[in-house]
């Protein structure tokens, strides 16, 4: 008597299954990563311990992870809202840079006298300028698509290069700090408050770099969740995403929504750029993003466009970025990222099919 595997199409997906397969794939990815690590002569358990320590080991390193997760959350949410409408905004990277540039204007022009203006006004203005700049960078491809049916994948991608070089022009030529490829450090009034700033009052906060930006991320996720779940606009977005013909028939202005969604998505990515320069680098410089705008696409996708799920997924990816600095060989972290992605994508098959184990004598004929 032998057994045989049988693959069948699922008719319905139990609501717990996506969660189980997602967590399962991450665990499996770590196991496979460990085995590979062993084969190349490493000590997987030691490495796992280091990995854990490097990501969650203490408040200080966990806060590092959260600092890296912050832009991912914002960019992930930005991508989620565009993807919900099947608008392929792959220009979050550029919108991130635009946001950084916009926010920097407040300090570098400066728009308000930095010595006398209260911190919350400076920060508020930086947020506003960052979001407007990001929104403009989203608006352009949105407008081109709505009015002239220009493919947004191409335009958003190309605009990434434009804004990065635009930034470089200003950094190298106009605002260069003594010839370096960066501007001078911003006045402290333009820094987002960090936990470390309160070390005097609370000892445990010493050296903890977590800044206010993480709240922007959580609030943005909550707002977009509400938009998807309860708002008229979210309903319109879902309808257009599912069937644009039906949306037009329902009287929804599709062009207007393309422009709005792209601008909104750009504004959120722009806010990520603002939060990064105001909370972490404290100046405008050449490379402020190790590809957050692109990782955000993956994050949004893996979270199945659910804004709240984007938060833990961002933390996971941030952990991999942070661990990548600690682990040797450094490539291991990328390897893990790759395996996780692979596992998650293939686990989708389990959502669509089920596998039964049959004994051969059970079968008919």
């Amino acid at each position: 008597m032998s057994t045989r595997l049988k693959v069948e199409k699922r008719v319905d997906v139990p609501s717990w299954l996506p969660l189980v397969t997602s967590i399962g794939s991450v665990v499996l990815a770590f196991i496979i990563g460990g085995i590979i690590f062993k084969i190349v002569g490493g000590k997987p358990f030691e490495a796992a311990k280091y990995f854990y320590q490097a990501v969650f080991g203490s408040w200080a390193v966990f806060s590092d992870t959260m600092v890296k997760a912050t832009p991912l959350i914002l960019v992930g949410v930005a991508c989620a809202i565009a993807f919900k409408m099947r608008l392929w905004n792959i220009g979050a990277e550029g919108q991130f840079y635009a946001g950084a540039f916009g926010a920097s204007l407040v300090v570098l022009i400066p728009i308000v006298p930095l010595e006398t203006t209260p911190k919350f006004i400076v920060i508020g203005l930086m947020m506003l300028f960052g979001m407007i700049a990001g929104a403009i960078w989203g608006f352009i491809p949105g407008y081109l698509k709505a009015k002239y049916k220009v493919n947004e994948i191409i335009t958003t991608l190309m605009l990434n290069y434009i804004i990065i070089n635009w930034n470089n022009f200003w950094i190298f030529d106009k605002w260069s700090d003594r010839g370096f490829q960066m501007t001078a450090t911003f006045d402290r009034v333009a820094w987002l408050p960090r936990l470390a700033d309160y070390a005097k009052q609370i000892k445990a906060f010493a050296g903890v770099t977590l800044h206010l930006g993480v709240l922007f991320g959580i609030v943005a996720a909550a707002i977009v969740w509400w938009i998807f779940r309860y708002s008229r606009w979210g309903y319109e977005i879902k309808l257009i995403g599912d069937n644009p013909e039906a949306a037009r028939y329902a009287g929804i202005d599709i062009s207007k929504n393309i422009i709005l969604v792209m601008a909104f998505s750009g504004a959120l990515a722009g806010l990520a750029g603002m939060s990064e320069i105001s909370g972490v680098v404290h100046r405008l410089q050449e490379s402020i993003s190790p590809g957050y705008g692109f990782t955000g696409i993956i994050v949004a996708w893996l979270a199945k466009l659910n804004p709240f799920v984007i938060i833990p997924v961002s933390v996971l990816f941030a952990g991999l970025i942070v661990a990548g600095r600690e682990l040797q060989p450094a490539g291991l972290s990328f390897l893990l990222q790759g395996i996780i992605l692979f596992m998650l994508i293939s686990s989708d098959v389990l959502l669509r099919y089920k596998i039964r184990i049959l004994r051969t004598d059970e079968e008919a004929a």
């Binding site: 319905d12 309860y230 008229r232 309903y235 309808l239 039906a246 028939y249 009287g251 008919a364 004929a365």
Partner: protein
């Protein structure tokens, strides 16, 4: 295999979907060389049963024998290997490829070099054999629906199908094409093929089938009955489980004020060619104006210009207010509701829930819409109420619309369009592809609307339907209104003549 061994014998087939028992111990026996009709209302479980026979679904229990041999299909490939081919209602063809390329798609031969000419020849022979004519070198998108269907049939024949399943093949065809199809089916059975023919239209079943199996809500109510001596009324009763009135009662009613006025309207079709060429017409409150015509003579464009979905020249007024070339929201705001020609690509959003689909036209109005937000609790109640009132069969209002059967989806659209108390209703082929039970329900709903003073523009290719529902009938041909008559003294032959009069072939 002796000739008395049934071609197919399905026994005690059970197929379950969440919340629905789609097939409940169903038996079906297809004899060699017969045309066997599978009849049933929408959602009765016909497609499900046939998808199981074609290897797409897996029954929970039950056995299937093909030519006396017990089979257990895991994929359509297994079914094809046993000589079973299915022509689905929605064609699965690649529009930019030629007929031959589509037929060869997925076959092991040719392996590398296409040598299309040689295969064109082979396919021509096959066409010759069954009288299924279509140019093998034509691209799919250039072909009318009827020809595309012939390609689907050729595809299964080319794969050596001995048993053909045709899922509602007539739903997409014009009357002449239906006659052609029936001739083809006969020629196929004459050459030894066996056919399962799914249809809603009783007269077609009577005209072409040898025996019939009837399904009602997943249960067999007639198993392989011979059609001899069965009347339309018998069949309808088996199908819906009660007596069906075939002609709906229309009450007398004086028409009121003009609701829709069109003057000299011109519009182009999707290919940029003239589709409407100076249409002028009026529809009064409480009146049904029927538009008769052979499909593709400007009907779609007519509905779309009125509802704001298509640009036009000329004047369109609703209650004296001009709405030509305004966005669709303007027509909606003036009480124009629209039952679109295509339920799935225009009328609904398949992966959204029944509730989401039900509020498509009123999500921005109190009490559902509420400033920036939507009151989804109320939306759910609204959908639940309509689901019950219009008897939409689905597990619950959270079910995605794409899971509904055609009739239930049409009821959803109708429920939504009627519940807005429209002043003008543009109904395009509202009963196309539906079964008698649903047709009766939908026709009565239209008459109820007329009674309550709605002006209705009914565009249909079913002359019987137009004659029994309309107050006046206008005939459209080549984008022009070529004649108009009062329904009570309309002569069906005369209308038929006008319908074809404007076209060349």
């Amino acid at each position: 295999m002796s000739s008395t061994t049934p071609a197919v014998e399905m026994k005690d087939i059970v197929i379950r979907f969440p919340g629905v028992l789609a097939n409940d111990h169903v038996n079906l026996t297809l004899r060699q060389g017969e045309i066997h009709a599978l009849l049933g209302e929408n959602g009765a479980g016909k497609s499900t049963l046939m998808n199981a026979l074609a290897g797409l679904y897996k029954p929970v229990s039950g056995t299937t024998k093909v030519n006396g041999e017990l089979v257990d299909f895991n994929s359509p490939k297994d079914a094809i290997a046993k000589g079973i081919g299915m022509v689905h209602q929605h064609f699965k063809l690649v529009p930019t490829h030629t007929v031959t390329e589509n037929i060869l798609l997925g076959m092991d031969e040719p392996r590398f070099l296409m040598n299309l000419k040689k295969y064109d020849e082979k396919i021509l022979e096959l066409e010759e054999q069954y009288g299924l004519y279509v140019d093998p070198a034509a691209k799919i998108w250039q072909l009318p629906v009827g020809a595309q269907q012939r390609v689907e049939i050729l595809k299964t024949l080319y794969r050596g199908a001995e048993i053909l399943i045709m899922d509602e093949p007539t739903a997409v065809l014009a009357p002449q094409e239906i006659d052609d199809l029936m001739v083809t089916m006969r020629s196929m059975t004459d050459q030894g093929k066996s056919i399962i023919f799914i249809s809603h239209k009783l007269h077609e079943v009577i005209a072409v089938a040898d025996r019939v199996t009837v399904l009602r809500k997943g249960i067999v109510t007639a198993h392989g009955k011979s059609l001899e001596g069965l009347t339309k009324r018998n069949l309808a009763q088996l199908m819906v489980g009660r007596d069906v009135v075939f002609s709906v009662e229309k009450e007398e009613r004086e028409a009121g004020d003009v609701v829709l006025e069109m003057k000299d309207v011109y519009a182009k079709n999707n290919k940029g060619l003239p589709a409407l060429q100076g249409i002028s017409l009026r529809v009064h409150s409480g009146e049904i104006l029927g538009i008769a015509g052979v499909g593709g003579n400007g009907q779609s464009e007519l509905a779309e210009t009125i509802t704001g979905l298509r640009e036009c020249e000329g004047l369109i007024e609703i209650n004296g207010e001009e709405i030509s070339n305004q966005p669709p929201i303007e027509a909606i705001a003036r009480g124009v509701s629209h039952i679109p020609e295509d339920r799935t690509t225009v009328g609904s959003a398949p992966s959204l829930s029944i509730t989401d689909n039900m509020i498509m036209k009123n999500y921005n109005q109190e009490p559902i819409g509420n400033g920036w937000s939507i009151n989804f609790a109320r939306a759910g109640e609204h959908a639940q109420k309509l689901k019950e009132k219009y008897n939409i069969l689905a597990p619950n209002v959270r079910t995605p619309a794409g899971k509904l059967s055609g009739g239930n989806l049409q009821k959803l659209i109708l429920a939504r369009e009627i519940s807005s108390y429209p002043r003008l209703m543009v109904a395009m082929q509202p009963t196309r592809g539906l079964d008698v039970g649903a047709i009766e329900a939908i026709q009565s709903l239209l008459l109820e609307q007329r009674q309550s003073g709605t002006a209705i523009l009914l565009i249909s290719e079913e002359l019987d339907e137009l004659l029994s529902l309309s107050d006046r009938i206008a005939v459209i041909s080549d984008g022009k209104i070529v004649g108009a008559v009062l329904a009570e003294d309309a002569d069906i032959n005369e209308i038929g003549l006008m319908m074809t009069g404007g076209t060349d072939d």
